[in-house]
């Protein structure tokens, strides 16, 4: 449905996104993850044709450019802050964009906004505004929804409602591109992950594959930590070190054992340990930042 191919985005003369390529199919829920300033919001704005870019963006086989937005008719979005006129009521804000009053009413009910939807939006709390912003993005049965930090300001109940809505819409074929710093929340909804750093997409995988490939690290404890550090560095093997305990990548464990035994360094412990999603992301970002460097 959405194809992003070799996209480079520029702000002024500065390149913010470099050679981004990925696809989103109907029903996909893509989690867009990356540190502050990685280019997540810029990438979202690029898909919406709001920035200068080269490369190709196709939505349902129709090209999207800075001056061609016809394909974006069936796209809903919430980027940075909810787009709301404060002097209008929540209902009036929705009616500005709604094609079908029943769809509008159904969203109001599903998001539990009935009690305040006829009040002026300037009196809304952050969470109420956020829910209204999400409702605007979900209006008119969109094919693609782009949400930037959708859980901002939402209480637990609202978070669960929004999560359920995302699943319901995805089941009907709506694709989602969602960025969030609350990884645990994102993990509950996404079925594909895109990890971006410094404008480069470094991971683009289905979540199951991602967890399988990156979920495990090995804990390593030897009888000579200093010599182990030197040997790992000499062989350009990535590791982290905390209080004499190393964490190494599963793909390197046989090589490490060979290297250590050849230098008469003996293993006290070599055991697999599971990492949380957050730890995996941090580890991947560290690896990408450091290249072949090491984190002590």
């Amino acid at each position: 449905m959405l194809v992003v191919q070799n996209v480079n985005t520029y702000i002024g003369q500065k390149r913010i996104i470099t050679d981004a390529s990925f696809k989103i199919n109907p029903g996909n829920i893509i989690g867009l993850i990356g540190p502050n300033g990685a280019g997540k919001t810029t990438l979202m704005k690029t898909i919406l044709g709001l920035t200068k870019f080269n490369g190709q963006i196709l939505l349902n086989q129709t090209t999207v450019t800075e001056n061609q937005h016809a394909a974006l008719d069936k796209v809903g979005t919430l980027i940075e802050h909810p787009a709301i006129y404060p002097f209008l009521t929540g209902q009036q804000n929705l009616e500005l964009y709604a094609h079908d009053p029943d769809d509008c009413q159904s969203l109001i009910s599903k998001l539990n906004m009935n009690t305040y939807i006829h009040d002026k939006a300037k009196g809304y709390s952050l969470g109420m505004k956020q829910k209204l912003g999400i409702a605007i993005a979900l209006l008119n049965k969109p094919q693609l929804v782009i949400l930037d930090e959708p859980m901002n300001g939402l209480d637990v109940e609202a978070t669960i409602i929004v999560r359920r809505l995302i699943h319901q819409y995805a089941a009907k074929g709506t694709a989602f591109l969602i960025s969030s710093h609350i990884l645990s929340e994102l993990q509950k909804v996404m079925n594909q992950v895109i990890l971006i750093n410094h404008g480069h997409i470094i991971i683009n995988q289905p979540i199951a594959e991602f967890e399988q490939l990156h979920h495990q690290v090995y804990k390593l404890h030897t009888n000579n930590s200093q010599l182990t550090v030197d040997l790992l560095k000499n062989h350009h093997i990535h590791y982290t070190l905390d209080g004499g305990i190393f964490q190494v990548n599963p793909k390197n464990i046989f090589e490490i054992q060979d290297i250590l035994s050849s230098q008469h360094v003996y293993l006290k412990e070599l055991t697999p340990i599971s990492s949380s999603f957050e730890q995996i992301v941090v580890q991947l970002l560290n690896q990408q930042r450091g290249g072949d460097h090491y984190d002590d």
């Binding site: 702000i11 704005k45 919406l48 044709g49 709001l50 920035t51 001056n67 061609q68 937005h69 016809a70 974006l72 008719d73 796209v75 979005t77 980027i79 940075e80 802050h81 909810p82 787009a83 709301i84 006129y85 404060p86 964009y97 605007i136």
Partner: protein, 194 residues
């Protein structure tokens, strides 16, 4: 009108609603043009209300007929019509200017400040400049501060000696400035980062 014009466009950026307007439309000029039109129509409606109020007050308080000659041997009807036309033409100048300024300065208060300066000091500065540099009058008479005289000159042609522009020239000047402000303002609008 300068405050309303600038707030009307700036609020879209403050409330982030510009993002939806822009990505749902391919033609940015349509957004800019639509906003300009709405503000000018608002000014038109305000002028109509003021005119209606004038007619009511006149019928209640001044019993002379509309065809009666008053100032400069002109009828009351002619003076009223001239005033309305002058205000509507100058509102084009001021609204297009406010749109351009808010795109340039991005700060409402600054645009309103410029508007107040234009309203209260513009004409005086323009006249002072032409008095100080008489040899440059053929050029200085086209300065934008001079355009405000259109609001008075259409009903009182003697103002031509102050503005150094005849009625046709001052109307043309206002319209040309409005076109220039629209072109510059739209260019800035197109380039502004979201």
């Amino acid at each position: 009108m300068i405050a309303i014009g600038s707030i009307f466009l700036d609020m879209e950026y403050q409330n982030r609603t510009i993002l939806i307007l822009l990505y749902k439309n391919t033609k940015r000029w349509q957004i800019y043009w639509a906003k300009l039109t709405v503000v000018w129509l608002y000014s038109f409606v305000l002028t109509l209300i003021a005119t209606l109020f004038t007619v009511i007050l006149k019928s209640l308080l001044v019993k002379t007929p509309w065809t009666a000659l008053i100032s400069n041997h002109q009828t009351q009807l002619f003076l009223l019509t001239g005033n309305i036309i002058g205000i509507l033409i100058y509102s084009l100048f001021i609204i297009t200017l406010s749109f351009m300024l808010i795109m340039l300065l991005k700060i409402n208060a600054a645009v309103i400040g410029v508007g107040l300066a234009l309203g209260f000091l513009g004409a005086g500065v323009s006249v002072a400049l032409m008095r100080a540099f008489t040899s440059l009058i053929p050029i200085l008479r086209w300065n934008p501060l001079n355009m405000i005289f259109v609001t008075q000159q259409l009903t009182n042609p003697s103002y031509a000696t102050v503005s150094h522009l005849n009625s046709l020239e001052i109307i043309g000047g206002n319209l040309i400035y409005a076109i220039i402000f629209v072109i510059l303002g739209y260019h800035l609008f197109k380039k502004r980062r979201i």
